[in-house]
């Protein structure tokens, strides 16, 4: 039995059945990390000692017959923009290279409370700005499926770590597709929950009105387990919502016969890799076979999603990243003689190119004389984009599309062309603008590379997209895919 290939659920079950110990699970994953992470570079910081200590504690609990949590013994990777008490949290940036948070994010408290074991902090595009994990100050992460290709981003480290068996589950974060795109590129299940389902307390913000913590798993039920583990209202996040039921596992296997499924023509008619489109259309046929009622729909404002996203996200970024001033925490330039020089030199030396570009675009969009033409305009278009989805969900339960219009690209292929990189997010950003939920799951392979299927659901209807995903996954398994 190869421990690192088990699902998270199997690990927990074998732990309860006393087939393996928590310590063995963690040791097997540490060994895996030692073997592969030199090539993959999924982690910025590892927490071996703490993880082993926690494993001992779980083994003790089991031995003493105490109850254990829903994530007990499962090794989990955490994106490095989620703060962890006394564990370095860098956001993939030089400016936070040595930042040691004095508190835990709400999601970290939840994981610890459910006996999950944090094995390390994963690599990411600097401040989550990127779609390839190439903008990290700590070097690129490689796609475990093909080391010459990117794992996607910005949560590329979290995706690569789960794919390579370095951890069983991981947390990422989403602002415009940063969980779904790497899930697509690494052949994983990645969920972007409804805005407000998961607390953002302790998640270093990029764009507050769009950000949401997301999860990765190697199959649908694992991802659902991770989501159940972190969902729920938090008094410390004023945008988190009181949701009754956050158990996403019990109803997973329910029949999807009669489920109403919309295919937005705008998402299928854009210029994309034909092989990706073909695989997704094959997946649509499977949903028909499963009893789904598939119809073409229209989301008329779809084409404005990306420019709207870039104005709103960068505006919030420029405001958020003003906190990095070299005074309270983080890097401070050595070269200054006035307060203004501390600010300017610290920020110019501490931030990378893409971060500066987005701060600049946001500053421009919010600056006097342009605020109405850019920022306010984008917020109005956002209303129209949201209305498209509101209308669609009156008639349909889920919406299907490709996650990314391309296959995983090669390292270096797009890094010099910001617009080409932004296009990776074409079909994911509108979901964040509307605050609804979506996931990406593997639906086929092209030349050994995975294709992601995006399943979009209405606000707080995570159960719909998960049921659909689970039914599709099981159908694939029964056909030997």
């Amino acid at each position: 039995m190869e421990i690192t290939k088990l699902s998270a659920r199997e690990m927990r079950k074998k732990l309860i059945d006393k087939e393996i110990s928590s310590k063995e699970i963690i040791e097997a994953h540490i060994k895996k990390i030692d073997e592969v992470d030199g090539d993959i570079n999924a982690f910025i910081t590892l927490t071996r000692e703490e993880a082993l200590k926690q494993a001992d504690e779980i083994d003790r609990k089991i031995k003493d017959g105490e109850s254990i949590g829903s994530l007990a013994g499962i090794p989990i990777g955490i994106k490095d923009n989620i703060v962890t008490r006394n564990i370095k949290t860098t956001c993939g940036s030089k400016i936070l290279e040595n930042f040691i948070p004095p508190y835990d994010a709400a999601v970290i408290e939840k994981i610890k409370g459910k006996d999950g074991i944090i094995l390390g902090k994963t690599n990411m595009d600097e401040f989550a700005m990127g779609s390839s994990t190439e903008t990290s100050y700590f070097g690129s992460t490689k796609n475990p499926i093909d080391l010459e290709r990117v794992p996607g981003g910005s949560s590329g480290g979290s995706a690569a770590a789960v794919k390579a068996g370095e951890v069983a589950l991981s947390l990422g974060s989403e602002t415009g597709g940063s969980v779904r795109e790497p899930a697509s590129f690494c052949g994983l299940v990645g969920i972007k929950p409804t805005y407000g389902l998961v607390s953002r307390y302790g998640v270093i913000p990029m764009a507050n009105s769009l950000d949401q913590v997301g999860v990765f798993g190697r199959d649908v039920a694992d991802a659902a387990l991770m989501l159940s583990g972190i969902a729920g209202y938090d008094i410390k996040d004023s945008t988190s919502m009181k949701v009754e039921d956050t158990d996403y596992l019990t109803k997973l296997a329910e029949d999807i016969k009669g489920m109403r499924i919309g295919l937005p023509k705008e998402y299928f008619n854009i210029d994309m890799d034909k092989r990706v489109k073909e695989e997704v259309l094959k997946a649509v046929k499977v949903f028909e076979k499963l009893g789904g009622e598939v119809e073409e729909i229209s989301l008329p404002y779809a084409e404005y999603g990306l420019p709207t996203y870039y104005i709103i996200a960068t505006s919030e970024i420029s405001s958020n990243l003003a906190r990095f001033d070299g005074i309270r925490y983080g890097y401070r330039s050595k070269d200054y003689s006035s307060l203004d020089e501390i600010y300017i030199n610290t920020r110019s030396e501490g931030f990378g190119e893409e971060v500066k570009r987005r701060i600049m675009l946001g500053t421009y969009a919010l600056s006097s004389g342009y605020h109405d033409a850019y920022y306010k305009k984008a917020q109005r278009v956002r209303t129209l984009i949201k209305k498209d989805f509101d209308e669609a969900f009156k008639k349909y339960d889920i919406i299907l599309s490709p996650t990314v219009p391309t296959l995983p690209f090669k390292l270096g292929e797009k890094i010099e062309d910001p617009l080409a990189m932004y296009m990776s997010d074409l079909m994911t950003v509108s979901v964040n603008l509307a605050g609804i939920c979506a996931l990406s799951m593997p639906c086929g392979m092209v030349e050994g590379l995975p294709v992601g299927l995006q399943i979009i659901g209405d606000r707080f209807k995570e159960m719909n997209i998960l049921k659909a995903a689970y039914a599709f996954e099981r159908e694939g398994e029964s056909n030997g895919i």
């Binding site: 004095p102 805005y195 009105s209 003689s337 109005r380 278009v381 617009l419 509307a434």
Partner: protein, 94 residues
């Protein structure tokens, strides 16, 4: 088109600076992105309200109870410069 001077001005607002060489490259890439987002101007948004937040604007209230926050030591732990239990800055006034 955005000029190098415009970019310098925005940089000063954002407390950033660029070398001449960086400025050239930056102005170029920045222009491409700006041209792309210009696309929004073609949308008719007459009588459309902006969506700043997707959640219903409900302010959940709670009891105003005193709870333990972070200690001064914890708060100052990451400061690049500190003195007497405060963040330390260079002299602002002469």
């Amino acid at each position: 088109m955005i000029s190098k001077e415009d970019v310098k001005h925005i940089a000063s607002l954002a407390k950033l600076k660029f070398s001449e060489e960086e400025l050239e490259d930056f102005t170029n890439k920045f222009s491409h992105v700006l041209t792309y987002v210009e696309k929004l101007q073609e949308v008719d948004t007459e009588n459309v309200e902006p969506t700043y937040q997707v959640n219903e604007q409900i302010q959940l209230l709670r009891e105003d109870e005193v709870v333990e926050g972070l200690s001064r030591e914890d708060v100052l732990k990451n400061a690049p410069d500190k003195q007497y239990g405060y963040f330390k800055l260079p002299k602002v006034l002469d």
